[in-house]
């Protein structure tokens, strides 16, 4: 990242110059990577090209194969691919909270819901008594509030981030497992609120609501405007177009998350994850840092929620269950907590497993014998077993982050429960290893403090410049 080392000149022109410079540095950096790590670079390029061509290949080749069953495995349809991408965005976001900063969030679905309802409120005929159309391609005079997709995305981002900070501010000083429970509670409250605010009577000053249907209750809100650019729809019946729209959002999410990971903030997150007390001693403002992780992580789910609502054209509170939070958690644990590529693979794989492979398996089973159980009906039995087995045998996931793997394998001394007298030599060996790792961590944090001084300029822009 040689282009990023130079401080950015203020103002719009400065930013434009920075972007241009970065873009111009890409070919050189690519050639450089090709020389230094040829195999990795070529594989990555092939993967990206395949990803970009996949929707077209899928429509032209794979889906006909599905119908003729030439290939033993089923290929996901466009709708499933779109949801793979939506969940990949959420997995990247949860990875910031749980993977980078080490804060377990069991109510992540709340921010997904907030994003979806943001899109539902601001791009649907739901509030029919007002007519407000801004830059949107909705017909003039159409009832309801209508904002275009490119405003909804940052709006969903902001709403989710705001609620993340609001929830985080009082709760982030709690210890890990308590925080998990608080977030779980929040994740349960938000859908209940959306479900119940369907007949509100409220009077305060000039605001007067009589039996107002704010959230659509059990039925939810529909129809929500599909994303439209230059007259082209990117909604659920657009097929490939929606997949590409999702890919653009996913790309943005990857770039933001990668930059956050390597920023001073990212290093601070990891320091807090490893040892909060030591991080604080090294001058990291732990409250502010954790709050930023929480807010930024939440905002990814907000974007995913906007995408879900705009794509499907409907959102109801039933979409946002505790099991969805856990599904995203399984994605990052399966893929490799702390590793962006790992969690993306985890998300793609798990949505594929859930929406395409298990139903397909069920079809095959019933074709053999109608009495056989349908695996898609007890998908969460499989996921539950996966969680237990992963924690037992491979807590770092299938595509692990090396640093995180070391932490997960050996708890810092003093945290683990178990007695030396009972466990004997094994425990002693474990403790020796843990001491080693602790020493490494201290060295790392020290190095970071030294690096902190010259990262000053970088950090000033990175925290508040996510997209």
């Amino acid at each position: 990242m040689s282009a990023a080392a130079k401080p950015i000149k203020p103002g719009l022109v400065g930013w434009f110059g920075y972007l241009l410079e970065s873009a111009m540095a890409v070919p050189g950096a690519y050639r450089d990577a090709l020389v230094r790590r040829p195999r990795r670079t070529i594989a990555l390029t092939a993967l990206i090209v395949f990803g970009l061509l996949y929707p077209i290949l899928n429509r032209q080749i794979f889906q006909p194969w599905n119908r003729a069953s030439t290939f033993p495995l089923p290929f996901p349809e466009d709708a499933v691919v779109t949801f793979m991408i939506i969940f990949a965005i959420m997995a990247i976001g949860l990875n910031i909270v749980a993977g980078f900063a080490g804060l377990l969030d069991l109510g992540y679905v709340a921010f997904y819901a907030l994003g979806a309802y943001t899109a539902a409120f601001f791009a649907s005929p739901h509030f029919g008594s007002v007519t407000f159309i801004l830059f949107s391609e909705a017909p003039p005079g159409f009832p309801g509030i209508h904002l275009p997709f490119w405003i909804l995305v940052p709006l969903g981002f902001l709403v989710a981030a705001t609620f993340g900070v609001l929830l985080g501010a009082p709760t982030l000083r709690l210890r890990g497992d308590y925080l998990a429970i608080v977030t779980l509670g929040f994740g349960e409250i938000v859908p209940v609120v959306f479900k119940n605010l369907s007949a509100v009577n409220f009077e305060f000053g000039p605001i007067r609501l009589v039996n107002a249907n704010l959230t659509g209750g059990n039925l939810g809100i529909n129809p929500i405007d599909a994303p439209r650019f230059f007259g082209i729809s990117f909604g659920s019946n657009s097929g490939i177009a929606a997949v590409y729209l999702g890919l653009i959002l996913l790309l943005g999410a990857i770039v933001v998350a990668r930059n956050l990971e390597r920023s001073r903030m990212g290093r601070a997150w990891m320091a807090i994850r490893e040892d909060e007390v030591a991080a604080e001693m090294m001058g990291i403002n732990t409250v502010r840092t954790k709050l930023l992780a929480f807010g930024l992580g939440a905002s990814f789910a907000g974007v995913a929620g906007v995408m879900q609502a705009s794509y499907q054209g409907i959102t109801t509170s039933d979409f946002f269950q505790f099991s969805t939070s856990i599904l995203v958690l399984i994605m990052i644990i399966l893929g490799g907590i702390g590793n962006i590529w790992g969690v993306i693979v985890g998300a793609l794989g798990l949505v594929f497993l859930d929406s395409t492979f298990l139903p397909y398996l069920g079809l095959r089973f019933t074709a053999i014998n109608p009495d056989l159980p349908n695996p898609s009906q007890f998908n969460f039995l499989i996921f539950g077993i996966l969680l237990v087995v992963m924690m037992r045998f491979r807590p770092e996931g299938f595509i692990p982050n090396r640093q995180r793997a070391a932490e997960l394998r050996h708890a810092p001394p003093g945290q683990a429960i178990g007695s030396a007298a009972v466990l004997g030599e094994e425990a002693l060996a474990d403790e020796a290893k843990a001491d080693e790792i602790a020493a490494e961590q201290v060295a790392e944090v020290e190095a970071e403090a030294a690096a902190a001084a010259d990262a000053e300029a970088e950090s000033a822009t990175e925290g508040d410049q996510p997209r």
Binding site: L381, M391, L423
Partner: protein, 308 residues
């Protein structure tokens, strides 16, 4: 006035069932600092077991002679408690003990996985719909014996108290007076030192899970005889109520868990009666968040307060 008293009675009866489950959370948290997510689902399995035993195996109904019914309910209680205790101990053995040396969030995630496994096993066996039994206890108002007609205490509510209170007393006695109880308290304070003093830490933890599981089984039987219904998602909702009770009273604190359960039972009953039933869950979670944010040590104070 009658309505308020009636609501209090309903709340206290609910609270007693919460207390049985909450004690399982608080015992386990006190000793290994793990939120045993699967505990609510152990309770749920216990309720299904009781349902099958009562409706199919013993075929109890309202016409069964009273003495016979008491004897059979005691047998049902014993079988269910034994089975759920066994389930809870096996869960500890399979999902938590191998992670004793892992970071604290690893067993929590494993517990979440276990919770889903138990829920889906119940879903697989009993299906997604609510399962109910007919009320078998006599329909009488106990208070009419002393001449009060306007307020009702049903036989079910008396039954809840008759089963729950002795169990709570027995547990208190066990933890405070017996040698094994002393070992539990020592392990809760400092597992390493307790191990060095000759306490078998693994065995003590297993016994903690055994007791928690047995109490959850008893709560399952009480649930079936009091509310007459169960469903595969019951454990999640009920478990979070019970966990909130444990936190409210000060987690790790046995008396606190019972007190918290009573308070939460009352909150539930009053919210159902005077607000709206569809907001009750949100209110319970708001209480949970409020307690954790403003007073994480709970009403009676946490025994391990410095770790909060």
């Amino acid at each position: 006035m009658e309505q308020i008293v009636q609501t209090i009675i309903i709340g206290l009866a609910n609270g007693l069932i919460f207390a049985l489950v909450a004690l399982g959370y608080t015992l386990v948290y006190g000793i290994i600092e793990l939120i045993n997510f699967a505990h609510g689902d152990v309770f749920m399995l216990g309720s299904f077991m009781a349902l099958v035993l009562i409706s199919s195996v013993f075929a109890l109904n309202a016409n069964t002679p009273l003495l016979m019914m008491v004897a059979q309910i005691l047998i049902v209680l014993a079988i269910t408690m034994f089975a759920t205790a066994a389930i809870n101990v096996s869960i500890e053995r399979v999902a938590y003990r191998p992670l004793r040396n892992a970071p604290k969030l690893a067993p929590l995630i494993s517990a979440i996985g276990m919770s889903f496994v138990l829920q889906n096993i119940a879903l697989l066996i009993f299906g997604p719909a609510n399962d109910s039994v007919d009320s078998i206890l006599p329909r009488v108002n106990v208070l009419s014996l002393v001449g009060i007609e306007s307020i009702t205490i049903s036989a079910e509510q008396v039954f809840v108290a008759v089963v729950t209170i002795p169990l709570l007393l027995a547990l208190t006695w066990f933890v405070s007076k017996t040698r094994q109880g002393k070992a539990m308290r020592a392990t809760a304070q400092d597992p390493d030192t307790a191990g060095l003093m000759g306490v078998d830490v693994n065995r003590t933890i297993a016994i903690t899970f055994l007791i928690g599981g047995a109490l959850a089984g008893a709560a399952g039987v009480v649930q079936i005889l009091y509310n007459n219904t169960t469903v595969w998602t019951l454990g999640f909702r009920f478990g979070l109520n019970a966990f909130t009770s444990a936190v409210l009273g000060g987690i790790g604190n046995l008396q606190g868990a019972v007190l918290g359960a009573m308070v939460l039972g009352l909150i539930n009953a009053f919210s159902d009666r005077y607000l709206a039933a569809n907001w009750t869950n949100a209110i319970v979670f708001a209480v949970l968040i409020g307690v954790l944010v403003f007073k994480p040590t709970g009403l009676l104070g946490q025994q391990l307060a410095d770790r909060a």
